[in-house]
């Protein structure tokens, strides 16, 4: 439980904006252990997405190290990075980013396309994952025939396809309404609770972040605050207010009736 799956040391990232250098992240350090559910909050422009891009090996840092499963991904060439992205990382995007001309199952199969898995294995795995995210029977629906919430479930199933070490979710609820928002967050939370999936999620929504056990507040490329969320309590199955037993799906504590939410 306590092995670091992600270790960021002295990470800096700057962009050239015209002739001006903009420092987005400076001397950033973070360690994420296996099985953690971390949320990163912060105002826009605080470097959330940049951080996630660097973590996801889709952007290179200016300096510093990113150790993913013990491998320093900042030193890998692009020819190797795609394998890291394929095997170690699962991406969940705000805009779902499903391929419109593929049905749900095919979308989930996509990351497995370039792996050694056989066609039937891939198909089998995709069905299992879709079942896990609650989309049994919708395997052959194309994205436009799925609701936003359902599309994001497909995207989550896709992120899980190659059994990654970490899920990186960039505002996964940003395009969803209230009900779908709660469902997606519970889905991610349950994945974390039941499967022990490590998740790092960027959000600006406090209610969403409340479900996570670690909440990091990012401002001007630095972590300014770190909080423990309800999630940790749920993980321990103890009410933070009255210390009685609680169930993971409860919103209010059955003993003290306090809302299990921030």
């Amino acid at each position: 439980m306590s092995e670091p799956v992600l270790k960021i040391e002295n990470l800096s990232k700057s962009y050239m904006l015209g002739k001006r250098e903009v420092l987005v992240l400076s001397d950033f350090n973070l360690q994420v252990n296996t099985g953690e559910f971390v949320s990163i909050m912060g105002p826009s422009g605080s470097g959330k997405t940049t951080l996630l891009n660097v973590l996801g090996c889709i952007d290179k840092p200016t300096s510093g190290q990113v150790l993913l499963d013990g491998v320093d991904v900042t030193k890998l060439p692009e020819g190797e990075l795609y394998k890291i992205r394929r095997n170690k990382i699962g991406f969940v995007f705000q805009t779902f980013n499903l391929l419109p001309y593929l049905d749900a199952r095919e979308n989930v199969e996509l990351p497995m396309e370039t792996t050694k898995k056989s066609k039937s294995e891939r198909s089998q795995r995709a069905r299992e994952l879709l079942k896990m995210v609650g989309l049994s029977g919708r395997e052959d629906h194309r994205p436009q025939r799925l609701s936003a919430g359902e599309q994001q479930r497909v995207a989550i199933a896709r992120a899980l396809a190659n059994d990654p070490a970490i899920i990186l979710a960039d505002e996964p609820t940003g395009n969803l309404d209230g009900k779908n928002k709660r469902e997606i967050v519970s889905l991610l939370a349950n994945l974390n609770l039941d499967q022990g999936t490590t998740i790092v999620m960027v959000t600006h929504d406090g209610h969403v972040a409340a479900h996570t056990e670690r909440r990091l507040f990012l401002h001007d490329g630095k972590i300014t605050k770190e909080k423990q969320g309800l999630h940790l309590a749920k993980k321990k199955s103890v009410c933070p207010f009255c210390s009685n037993q609680i169930q993971t799906n409860e919103i209010f504590c059955s003993s003290c009736n306090k809302k299990l939410d921030d």
Binding site: T49, L52, N53, G56, I58, D59, E78, G79, Y82, K83, R85, R86, N87, G90, F91, F93, Q94, T95, N97, L99, L110, P111, E113, T114, R158, A159, N162, D170, E171, G174
Partner: protein
């Protein structure tokens, strides 16, 4: 794609038709030359009662014949003066005075005995009596300019020639180009010399017994065409021809040979004085006619050749434009696609697709797209090629002389555009090659898309 197949198809068709035209013209020129050499001392006498026979414009005779087609099976005769072969048993007989049922359109049967005095004219070396008659059928044709006309398409022409040893040995009365068997000899009887076309038409070979108009002849030999006039002409003894066509005592022309070329016009004048009703055509006149004809042909040939090269240039230019346009279209379509799908490409890369996987994906797409375009283009091209190539290519404009030359020229214009399987394969290969070429850069661009593009919010 349709354009890409139409242009070469049209160009090839035009080129082929023009090439065959130039070939025709070329061989006509050669044949004309042969005729010029053959007829140096020759004077042709024919009976033309109701009109002036002149030049190469055959008179409108009873059989309703029109100017012959130079590219056809039987070009106008230039050596014997029989311009238009008649039809056996058909049409009115111009030769009312004694002609048999076997008539000839522009020529009138002459009573052989009436002209025996020609042989005694001073400086006449020899006189060969000739009976020429043809078997054919009327055929109504539509010329490319829309006029319809009837012409006789002769199946074969019978030419009976006086086979005396003097004539056979010393004068060019028989074909010189024997391809199998032997030539006719003095005293031959009951035998015939076929042309190669006759041999095919009758299905007869040397040594065969051949029945012509009810009479049986032995095929003694086969001649290749050595002049313009004899492609469908079979030769036999004059008397055989006369009895065969029921023209005993009649001939259609006299070939008079002067002692030397200086005496030709003098002899011609004497013949005209003696028999004013005869149309006398000397080698001098014929030479001039032939030379004029040859120069016209040469001009036509040059014009046709210039036309071919002009068309080839145009076709080449148009193909270059079409190829460039096609590549550019594929390039822009694919670039647009890549741009449009930047987010999708970014997503693919973010979820673990390699550069190569993305690149090959887009290459495949471009190639598939252009293959489909190629097939559709070939389909449209197959239907629309004649119209399209007509629009895109200059027609072969060969010197549009009057009469016969107009027809020679028109042979080239209605190009039959033929799309060969070969051309289709080439067009499809070109389509795929251009598709690949045009997809290369967009696919490369796609592969270089940063995966972070997937994060762009929309």
């Amino acid at each position: 794609m349709a354009i890409m197949i139409s242009i070469p198809a049209g160009a090839i068709a035009n080129q082929e038709s023009t090439l065959s035209l130039t070939e025709n013209l070329g061989s006509t020129i050669t044949q004309t030359e042969a005729s010029i050499n053959q007829t140096l001392t020759q004077i042709d006498c024919t009976l033309t009662p109701s009109f002036e026979g002149f030049g190469f414009s055959p008179p409108d005779s009873g059989s309703g014949s029109t100017p012959p087609d130079f590219g056809g099976a039987v070009p106008p005769s230039s050596g014997s003066g029989n311009f238009t072969p008649g039809q056996f048993g058909g049409g009115s007989l111009p030769g009312q005075f004694g002609g048999g049922p076997f008539g000839s359109g522009g020529t009138v049967a002459m009573n052989e005995t009436l002209y025996s005095d020609i042989a005694s004219i001073e400086n006449v070396a020899a006189v060969a009596a000739v009976l020429q008659a043809s078997q054919g059928e009327n055929q109504t044709m539509t010329s490319p300019d829309g006029r319809s006309f009837t012409r006789i398409v002769p199946e074969y022409v019978i030419e009976g020639i006086q086979l005396t040893s003097d004539l056979v040995d010393n004068y060019p009365i028989l074909p010189s180009n024997i391809t199998s068997g032997r030539n006719l000899q003095a005293g031959d009887d009951g035998v015939t010399l076929l042309s190669e076309e006759n041999a095919v038409y009758f299905g007869a070979n040397v040594g065969a017994e051949l029945e012509i108009l009810g009479e049986t002849f032995e095929v003694i030999g086969i001649h290749g065409s050595s002049g313009v006039e004899d492609r469908t002409t079979l030769y036999m003894n004059l008397s055989d021809a006369q009895s065969l066509t029921d023209n005993n005592g009649y001939i259609t022309s006299l070939q008079v040979f002067a002692e030397n070329s200086e005496a030709v016009s003098e002899v011609a004048n004497s013949i005209s004085d003696l028999h004013p009703e005869l149309s006398v055509s000397t080698s001098q006149q014929r030479l001039e006619e032939l030379q004029a004809l040859q120069s016209t042909y040469t001009t036509a040939l040059e014009s046709a050749e210039a036309s071919v090269s002009q068309m080839q240039n145009t076709a080449f230019g148009e193909i270059v434009v079409a190829v460039a346009a096609t590549s550019l279209i594929v390039l822009f379509v694919m670039l647009y696609t890549v741009r449009e799908r930047t987010k999708e490409i970014g997503t693919l890369k973010a979820i673990g697709f390699s550069n190569w996987a993305v690149m090959s994906q887009f290459m495949l797409e471009g190639v598939l797209l252009s293959s489909v375009a190629g097939v559709v283009g070939i389909a449209i091209g197959s239907v629309a090629a004649p119209a399209l190539s007509g629009l895109l290519l200059p027609t072969v404009a060969v010197l549009g002389g009057a009469g016969t030359f107009g027809r020679v020229a028109s042979m080239g214009s209605p190009a039959t555009v033929s799309i060969t399987p070969e051309l289709m394969v080439i067009a499809l290969a070109a389509a795929i090659a251009l598709g690949t070429l045009g997809s290369l850069y967009p696919a490369w661009r796609a592969s270089k898309t940063r995966p972070a593009e997937a994060m762009r919010y929309e």
